[in-house]
């Protein structure tokens, strides 16, 4: 497959922190509409990979192309977000002093320049969209609550709702079910599968049960590069993967 047909194209991406190679010539292709699970032991470079895609960290070498043409390595966080790449953090990061509604309103796709936001008023379409997301994330009864007062699981859902409001082409989701109950995990898997229909999604996760539930192609990272790729069953049977997970 050539770079032009991909949504996200990483080739030979390396990042070092004080001599530690967090990413080591990482290459990865994501197709439009694809959902991909990324697994790997601690320190495999999963979060660093998210950081270089979203512009938080600049790679030392390598190419990152979005939609086959836009070079992400030269852009800053806000510019990349506006291209259509949304990110959910490992620890839920919502605006604690704002209401649930305001959190979604801030995330909602709309002009991002200061003078546009100064005169912004919630129109009918925007209101309906926020209502819809409140329903999807089951936060409708809590719309006027301060986000800081939500439970851990609710914050995770609000953050997923904020991603939906942003309406990105590619969603990067870092450990969405960490600290969730089994029931919440199941709901989250269903929610992500719904989203995957209209967007491309990269999910980083430790929880194998959750990854199995997603039932998508899996990439195993190890020491900053791809160790194996394929269905969960295939990679679980891979001897190298077993060695890495058993810590050999």
């Amino acid at each position: 497959m050539s770079a032009e047909d991909t949504l996200l194209y990483l080739d030979g991406v390396s990042v070092s922190f004080d001599g530690f190679r967090a990413l080591n010539s990482l290459s990865l292709l994501i197709e439009p509409g694809e959902m991909r699970a990324i697994i790997g032991p601690n320190g495999a470079g999963k979060t660093t990979m998210m950081d270089v895609i979203t512009g938080k960290t600049r790679p030392d070498t390598g190419t990152i192309l979005f939609e086959g043409k836009t070079d992400l390595t030269a852009m800053r966080e806000a510019g990349i977000a506006n291209l259509g790449i949304g990110r959910k953090f490992q620890r839920p990061t919502v605006f604690e002093n704002h209401t649930v509604w305001d959190n979604l309103e801030l995330a909602l796709k709309a002009p991002r320049r200061p003078l546009k936001t100064l005169t912004y008023a919630v129109g009918r379409d925007d209101r309906l969209r926020i209502e819809e997301i409140l329903d999807i994330t089951r936060l409708s009864p809590k719309r006027e609550r301060q986000a800081g007062s939500l439970s851990h699981g609710e914050k995770q859902w609000l953050e997923i709702g904020m991603l939906l409001a942003q309406d990105p082409k590619l969603l990067l989701v870092d450990e969405p079910v960490a600290g969730m109950t089994d029931a919440e995990t199941e709901q989250t898997a269903r929610l992500l599968k719904d989203i995957a229909g209209k967007h491309s999604v990269i999910v980083v996760e430790h929880d194998m049960v959750f990854v199995r539930e997603l039932g998508v192609k899996v990439t195993v990272l190890h020491e900053g590069s791809v160790l194996a790729e394929g269905s969960l069953d295939a990679v679980s049977a891979n001897q190298q993967v077993i060695d890495v997970y058993l810590g050999r």
Partner: protein
């Protein structure tokens, strides 16, 4: 669109505050000019100037609260913008003196004649026009803040480091303005003003006019600030304060937002300084001193950070206390100020307005508890 935007900020709190300001704008002129000097209702020119001074400080505090309370930028150099605005107004007032100075030079202010200067420096040109000075009052602090913020925010300097360089900024300006060859009167500053817009600056009616102008400026500043805070832009600002990198990943260029609030705040501080100078009759480099900026932070903390109205209340109360203490117990004032800051930080983290909100929350619940036993008695 503009009216809709301005209506955003008009909640109940704003209504009360604007009503108080309107009352001041009517009562003070009546009491100062419409009553006999021996009447108990009479306000002396001195009192009017003092109140005007408090309200100038209130506008400075409001400007500081906009960036500290809502964007989390703790400026320890806001007096720099205030003083620059003051100097711009001072330059206009100096040019108005004309040939009435001690040396009688129609163009050069006295201190330039004294320094044996032959002609007006280029940056003094235009200040004989009020409109020009009025533009400079906002443009100079605004441009400095814009340039400073551009570099500081782009390089992602935040928190304590940013506070320290704002402090360094005002300190550097103080040292620069102390030099005679800067052309701003050195350590004596600018003073001995005669008239403003053709009115005698000492006359009671002029003083009242300046007071009313200050009230109007404060009201406009308040409406503007509270409308901004209530708009979506204000929500972005608060989000930047609480989780800046998250806001970036939503696609907002946080630097632009910080720069907007920061520059606007500097312009407001400049206007406050410009209104301050004709009412106190002097501007000199000591206004740039780091202590002035830190005092402004204390006003905001005392009144309640992030409340706008609290900044105004804090500035007026602390300065009233300062006037009282420095007259009654001059050696104790700095201890009182320091103690106040410690007490507020420890016991009133949300300031006076925060305390008021707490009390209001507690009262109805106590009422509900009290109602229960009463109900049982009835049964």
């Amino acid at each position: 669109m503009l009216t809709r935007f301005l209506l955003l900020g008009l909640d109940k709190k704003a209504g009360v505050l604007l009503a108080v300001l309107a009352l001041l704008a009517v009562a003070v002129p009546v009491m100062a000019l419409g009553t006999a000097p021996d009447s108990p209702w009479h306000l002396s020119t001195h009192s009017v100037a003092l109140m005007g001074k408090y309200l100038c400080f209130a506008l400075l505090a409001l400007a500081l609260d906009l960036v500290w309370g809502y964007v989390g930028i703790l400026s320890l150099g806001h007096a720099a913008f205030f003083t620059l605005g003051g100097y711009a107004m001072g330059m206009y007032l100096m040019r108005q003196i004309g040939p009435r100075g001690v040396y009688g030079n129609p163009i050069l202010p006295d201190f330039m004649v004294f320094l044996n200067w032959k002609e007006l420096p280029w940056y003094w040109h235009g200040f004989d026009q009020f409109w020009f000075a009025a533009v400079m009052v906002m443009l100079v602090p605004g441009a400095l803040a814009f340039a400073f913020g551009w570099f500081a925010f782009r390089s992602r300097v935040t928190g304590v480091y940013l506070s320290i360089i704002t402090q360094a900024l005002t300190f550097a300006l103080m040292l620069a303005f102390f030099r005679n060859d800067m052309g701003f009167g050195g350590n004596n500053g600018l003073t001995d003003f005669k008239e403003i817009l053709g009115f005698d600056i000492q006359a009671p009616a002029t003083r009242v006019g300046l007071f009313v102008a200050t009230v109007v400026a404060l009201a406009i500043g308040y409406i503007l600030a509270s409308s901004i805070v209530a708009s979506k832009l204000g929500k972005v600002l608060v989000a930047v304060r609480d989780a800046e990198s998250r806001v970036r990943f939503l696609g907002y260029e946080t630097e632009r937002y910080k720069l907007f609030a920061w520059t606007l705040s500097a312009c407001m501080a400049g206007v406050a300084g410009a209104l301050y100078v004709p009412q106190v009759g002097i501007i000199n480099p000591s206004e740039f001193s780091p202590a002035s900026s830190i005092e402004a932070v204390i006003w905001v903390a005392v009144g309640g950070r992030g409340t706008l109205a609290g900044a105004i209340i804090g500035a007026v109360l602390v300065n009233f206390g300062k006037s009282y203490f420095t007259a009654a117990l001059p050696e104790l004032w700095l201890f009182a100020l320091g103690g106040l800051f410690v007490l507020v930080t420890l016991f009133l983290p949300k300031g006076i307005l925060g305390l008021a909100a707490q009390l209001r929350q507690r009262l109805p619940s106590r009422g509900a508890v009290a109602a229960k036993p009463a109900g049982q008695k009835g049964v």
